[in-house]
C-alpha cells in the first residue's frame, strides 16, 4: 500500500514535470516527430485490420438482428454510430496500448536498467525532457489520426458486408452513413481519445523510467504498463461516456 502511494506520487510528479516542460516551450520537436513515426507506423496496420474486421462483424450482426425487425436498411447507421461513438476510440486505444505503449515502456525500461537514463542526467540533460515529453506528445498526435483511420476503415468493412451480403445498395449505404453521423457523435468519440492518449503515454512512460531489476524487470514493468493501460482505458471510458452522455446525451 505504501509503495502504491509513493508510486502514485512519483507518477504525478512526472506528469507535473512533463507539463512544466511543455508550458515553458522546451519541446524537442524533432524527437516528437520521430516518435510520431514510430508509434504511428507501428500501430497503423494492426488498427486497420482490427477496424475493418470490427466494421464487417458489426454489419454481419446488424444484418441478422435488424433483419428480425425488418430494419435491415439501417445497418449503415448501426455501423457508423457504433464505430464513431464507441468502438473505434476504445479499440484503437487498446491496440495502441499493446503496440506503441508496450514499445515505449520496453524502450524506456531497457534504457533505465542499462543506465542510459542516468547517463542522460549525468550529461546535464533531464531524461523527462529528452525521452518522456516527446513520447507523451506523440501519443496526442498519433492516437486521433489512428482513430479517424479506424473509423473510415471500419465503415468500409461494414460497407463491404452490407453491399455484398445484405444487398444494401451502395449509394444508399453511403447516404445513410453520411446522414447518421452528426458533429456531436464525432465529438463524443473524439473527446475520449485525448483522455486515452494521456493515460497511455503517462502510464507507459512512468512504468518505463521506473524500471529496476535487469532484463526480468523490463518484462515485468512492460507487462504491468500494458495491463494497467487496458484497465484504465476501459474504466475511464465508462466515466467519460457517462460525462459525455450527461452533457450531450441526445447528440
Amino acid at each position: 500500500m505504501k509503495d502504491t502511494i509513493i508510486g502514485l506520487g512519483k507518477a504525478v510528479c512526472l506528469l507535473g514535470d512533463v507539463l512544466k516542460y511543455i508550458v515553458r516551450g522546451r519541446v524537442r520537436w524533432d524527437e516528437v516527430f520521430k516518435q510520431v513515426y514510430e508509434q504511428g507506423v507501428g500501430s497503423l496496420i494492426i488498427v486497420t485490420l482490427a477496424s475493418a474486421a470490427s466494421g464487417a462483424v458489426l454489419a454481419m450482426q446488424g444484418q441478422v438482428m435488424m433483419g428480425r425487425f425488418g430494419a435491415k436498411e439501417f445497418i449503415a447507421q448501426l455501423v457508423a454510430l457504433s464505430l464513431v461513438r464507441e468502438m473505434s476510440p476504445v479499440f484503437t486505444a487498446l491496440v495502441f496500448s499493446g503496440k506503441a505503449g508496450a514499445g515505449m515502456a520496453a524502450e524506456l525500461a531497457t534504457m533505465s536498467v542499462n543506465n542510459q537514463l542516468q547517463a542522460t542526467r549525468v550529461m546535464g540533460v533531464d531524461p523527462v525532457e529528452f525521452f518522456v515529453v516527446p513520447r507523451m506528445l506523440a501519443c496526442f498526435l498519433v492516437l486521433p489520426v489512428l482513430v479517424v483511420v479506424s473509423e473510415l476503415v471500419g465503415i468500409l468493412g461494414g460497407y463491404f458486408i452490407a453491399v455484398t451480403q445484405a444487398g444494401i445498395p451502395s449509394s444508399y449505404y453511403y447516404y445513410q452513413t453520411v446522414h447518421a453521423i452528426g458533429y456531436s457523435d464525432f465529438f463524443c468519440g473524439f473527446i475520449k481519445i485525448f483522455v486515452f492518449a494521456l493515460l497511455i503515454g503517462w502510464v507507459c512512460c512512468y512504468k518505463g523510467i521506473s524500471t529496476t531489476g535487469g532484463s526480468l524487470g523490463v518484462g515485468r514493468f512492460t507487462t504491468a504498463a500494458v495491463a494497467l493501460c487496458y484497465v484504465l482505458v476501459i474504466v475511464s471510458n465508462t466515466f467519460v461516456t457517462k460525462m459525455v452522455l450527461t452533457f450531450w446525451g441526445n447528440g
Partner: protein, 239 residues
C-alpha cells in the same frame, strides 16, 4: 579540487558510507578500491550529484553540490564526465551521435565543428573510423572507449569512472587503464575511478584509497599502501 567532509549515506537503515573525509587536488587521479558493496559506486554517484548525502558535504571547485537545486545540478553536471560500468551508450544512436550528444546539448558549435571535435576524440580513444557503428556492433572494450570519449568531449573538469576495467580481459583492462591516465593528464581532469582491480588501479592512479564497510582504511601511493599494517588492506592487495 574535490573536498568531501563527513559524508554519510544510508540505505534502508544500513550505513553504506560512514563519515568519509577525502580531498582530491585538481588534476590528480584517485583510485577508490575495495571489494563489492563497500560504497565505491555510491561515492561516485554523490560526486555526480545523483545521490544526496544524509550528512556531510561535497565541494567541487568550492561549490557545495548538496546546496544545488535540480536545475543548478543539471548545469553543474556539464563539468562532469561519467564513465559507467557498462558504458551506458545510447543504443539508438551511432558512435558519432553518442559522442556528439554533449556538444549538441551544451555548446553552440556548428555541425562542422562538432564533427571535427567528435573525430578528434574518437581518434584519442583509438576509435577513428568506427563512427557509423551502433553500440550493439561493438565489443565491451570498444564501448568503454566510446563512452570515455563521450564523457570527456564536453571539456569535463572532473572525470568519474565506475569500474572501468570490469568485464574486460587483462589486455583490454590494461589498455583502458592507460587510456584513462593518458586522457586525464592530457586534458588536465581531476579523475576518480572505482575498481577492485588492484593492478590496473595502481597503474592508472597517482593515489589510491581502500574502502572497507564504508570507511577509508588506507590512503596513499602504491608504496604507502603496500607498507600498510592494516590486515584488511594487506589481504586486499595480496589478492
Amino acid at each position: 579540487m574535490i573536498r568531501i567532509s563527513g559524508l554519510v549515506k544510508m540505505f534502508n537503515g544500513v550505513s553504506v558510507i560512514e563519515g568519509m573525509d577525502l580531498t582530491i587536488p585538481t588534476g590528480e587521479i584517485l583510485a577508490v578500491m575495495g571489494p563489492s558493496g563497500t560504497g565505491k559506486t555510491v561515492l561516485l554517484q554523490h560526486l555526480a550529484g545523483l545521490l544526496t548525502p544524509d550528512a556531510g558535504t561535497i565541494e567541487i571547485d568550492g561549490q557545495d553540490i548538496g546546496a544545488l537545486n535540480d536545475t543548478e545540478l543539471l548545469l553543474f553536471r556539464h563539468r562532469i564526465g561519467y564513465l559507467f560500468q557498462e558504458g551506458a551508450l545510447f543504443d539508438f544512436m551511432t558512435v558519432e551521435e553518442n559522442v556528439a550528444f554533449p556538444l549538441k546539448e551544451h555548446t553552440r558549435l556548428n555541425p562542422t565543428e562538432i564533427q571535427t571535435k567528435v573525430n578528434e576524440f574518437l581518434e584519442l580513444v583509438d576509435m577513428a573510423g568506427q563512427g557509423d557503428k551502433y553500440p550493439s556492433e561493438l565489443s565491451g572494450g570498444m564501448k568503454k572507449r566510446v563512452a570515455l570519449a563521450r564523457a570527456m568531449v564536453g571539456d569535463a573538469k572532473v572525470l568519474l569512472c565506475d569500474e572501468p576495467t570490469s568485464g574486460l580481459d587483462p589486455m583490454r583492462s590494461r589498455d583502458i587503464s592507460e587510456l584513462i591516465r593518458r586522457l586525464s593528464k592530457k586534458l588536465g581532469c581531476t579523475t576518480v575511478l572505482t575498481t577492485h582491480d588492484v593492478i590496473n588501479a595502481l597503474r592508472t592512479a597517482d593515489r589510491a584509497v581502500v574502502l572497507n564497510e564504508g570507511r577509508i582504511v588506507a590512503d596513499g601511493d602504491e608504496a604507502l599502501l603496500r607498507s600498510s599494517v592494516n590486515v584488511f588492506v594487506k589481504e586486499f592487495l595480496r589478492v
